[in-house]
Amino acid sequence: MTQDTVTSETQTEQPDMPTAVPTPDGAALDGATGSSPARPPRLSDPLPDTGNAVTLQGVGVSFGDHQVVRDVSFNLARNRVTALVGPSGCGKTTLLRAINRLHDDAGGTVSGSIRIGDLDVYAKDTQPELVRSRVGMVFQRPNPFPNMSIFENVVSGLRFNGVRSKTILREAAESALHHAALWELVKDRLHSPAGVLSGGQQQRLCIARALAVEPEVLLMDEPCSALDPIATAKIEELIARLAADVTVCLVTHNMFQARRVSHYTAVFLLGDDRRTGQLIEYGQTDHVFEVPMDLRTKAYVTGQMG
């Protein structure tokens, strides 16, 4: 499932290790079989176009009178990792939550259009629960359900969505735990409470829980900010592998993480009114960090502001 060449980004060339696993069912990936999507490309490699899983046009989010973010247009390329970066308070998390309609409960108003494939997320007859079963989310602090065992946590999303078949639950759970690199660790204690796991492992459990519903898109809101450096490194590696199966949108305030892990980057900053966040640049990660088009981006990525 994964090529080990993800390591070559940060170290000198290593002999290619033989791929240990069969490649996943290519049919489900809509044709993205060619290049290994797990390795963030170098400046010289053009990225093959895999189409867009999610398109955002003129999206804005406001709470009452307060406009948090305005006029955001970019895409989440299919089977790629897109990072949303920028200093705190620029609306990156707010925008992320608009994609799976989490603002419905909190009284936020979303303008503009968000489409997943051909589904208009905010159309009048679109059910938010169905949107959320196609778009998974991982939160800043690991939040497994405290009263459920590991297995029950992983399948909780399936149960919410009405899946009853024990076979599907078991297989989906095992598959999700494999994808989250947790299976070997928990396979003998699936029915222990989730609290026995460490912070990083709990976050991977939350990732498995989100993956079990087989979403097309995985939204991650600063998933490493509550974790220690080793756990962070493991999750970053996991994100790189996951891109083969899902489209990932990652909010992070850590530029270096964005650089390591993402294929595309969208940079957010506070607009001139100092109150509303805006998207100021979007492109391939290497371009954004090395040859940005906007002066403000350049100032941000060189650490002069933010």
Binding site: D25, E129, N161, R164, H178, E214, I230, A233
Partner: protein
């Protein structure tokens, strides 16, 4: 990414930070089918799940309605029938023999004021002092006091009445207001202790320590820092204890009861709750009328005391908000 690890034999090996996991063949091949089944289940069950949400909202809102029905009915009946019975004479006259119109509850009002007042005079100082004791001591006696206060709040009030009977009515040979005061004081004591303790505990520790560091004696610290800072909570707690005591019947049943106007503690007095009980259980409509009037009076009194407690808490809390806001860390 790789890390270095030392094995048991002392070799250093390079290994994967996150080991590659082999996805078993049967899971990989079934993935598409699984995905389709999940999508289908989600769509199929959504209608049912959303109906469950709407139904539960309706049921729970209904529950709230059911909660409010007895409240509204209680208040409506008491007010409607109580107001009928009330005129100026109601508050100025003493009770008349059963069946004879024109009675009032003057003695009951005076009696209640006497009993609750004396009882509060007994319970509140002792309660505050006991709370001061709890503030700084941690030993076994403190635990007993704290645990005892918790337990005593749950004791049925009839037990206090019987206690007062055994202690003060039997030896004296007759009912007395004193016995009633005592029973109510025992009732109020744990309420005052608990409310005072929590009010004092909310005064930030560093204010007390600053006073001690300046060389103040503990009594001075208690007077100037603790009592002053906790004043709002102390007053509120006392008012709430009084509001509770004013409405209690069981402690008074066997300690003090009278139709006569009396202000001497050694003699029995009337009280509002007992007037309600005695008149309400009679068959005469006039008596029941008096019971409603008294019930309405009692209700208004308890309401006023509760509102007063809230106002006092608000006004004094505003003054000490700067002190308490510092304790939020």
């Amino acid at each position: 990414m790789t890390t270095l690890r030392t094995t048991d034999t002392g070799d250093v090996v390079v290994e994967e930070l996150l080991p590659a996991e082999v996805l078993p063949e049967h899971l990989a091949s079934g993935a598409a089918a699984r995905r389709a089944a999940i999508r289908q289940a989600a769509g199929r069950t959504l209608g049912r799940r959303r109906t469950a949400t709407r139904a539960s909202h309706v049921l729970c809102a209904l529950s709230v309605g059911i909660c409010l029905v007895p409240l509204v009915a209680l208040l409506a009946y008491t007010t409607a029938r109580g107001i009928h019975a009330i005129n100026l004479g109601f508050f100025v006259h003493d009770p008349t023999p059963p069946g004879i119109p024109g009675g009032g509850i003057r003695n009951a009002i005076a009696g209640s004021v006497l009993i609750v007042g004396l009882g509060a005079l007994m319970a509140i100082p002792i309660g505050i002092v006991a709370a001061l004791f709890l503030l700084e001591r941690r030993g076994r006696v403190a635990t007993i006091v704290r645990f005892g206060a918790d337990v005593l709040t749950g004791v049925p009030s009839i037990a206090m009445g019987i206690f007062a009977y055994a202690l003060l009515v039997e030896p004296l040979g007759h009912f007395s207001a004193l016995a009633g005061c005592f029973a109510l004081a025992v009732l109020m004591l744990p309420i005052v202790i608990r409310a005072s303790e929590s009010a004092m505990a909310s005064v930030p520790v560093d204010l007390r320590e600053a006073a001690l560091a300046l060389g103040a004696r503990r009594s001075r610290v208690a007077r100037s820092v603790v009592l002053r800072g906790a004043m709002a909570g102390l007053v509120t707690g006392s008012l709430l204890a009084i509001a509770r005591a004013v409405g209690e019947t069981a402690p008074l049943l066997f300690t003090t009861s009278s139709d006569l106007f009396n202000l001497s503690p050694l003699q029995p007095t009337g009280s509002l709750p007992l007037t309600i009980y005695a008149n309400g259980t009679q068959a005469f409509p006039e008596a029941q009328q008096i019971a409603w009037g008294t019930a309405f009076t009692l209700l208004v009194l308890v309401l006023l005391l509760s509102i007063a407690a809230r106002i006092v808490a608000g006004r004094l809390a505003r003054g000490s908000r700067w002190a308490n806001s510092r304790s939020k860390r």
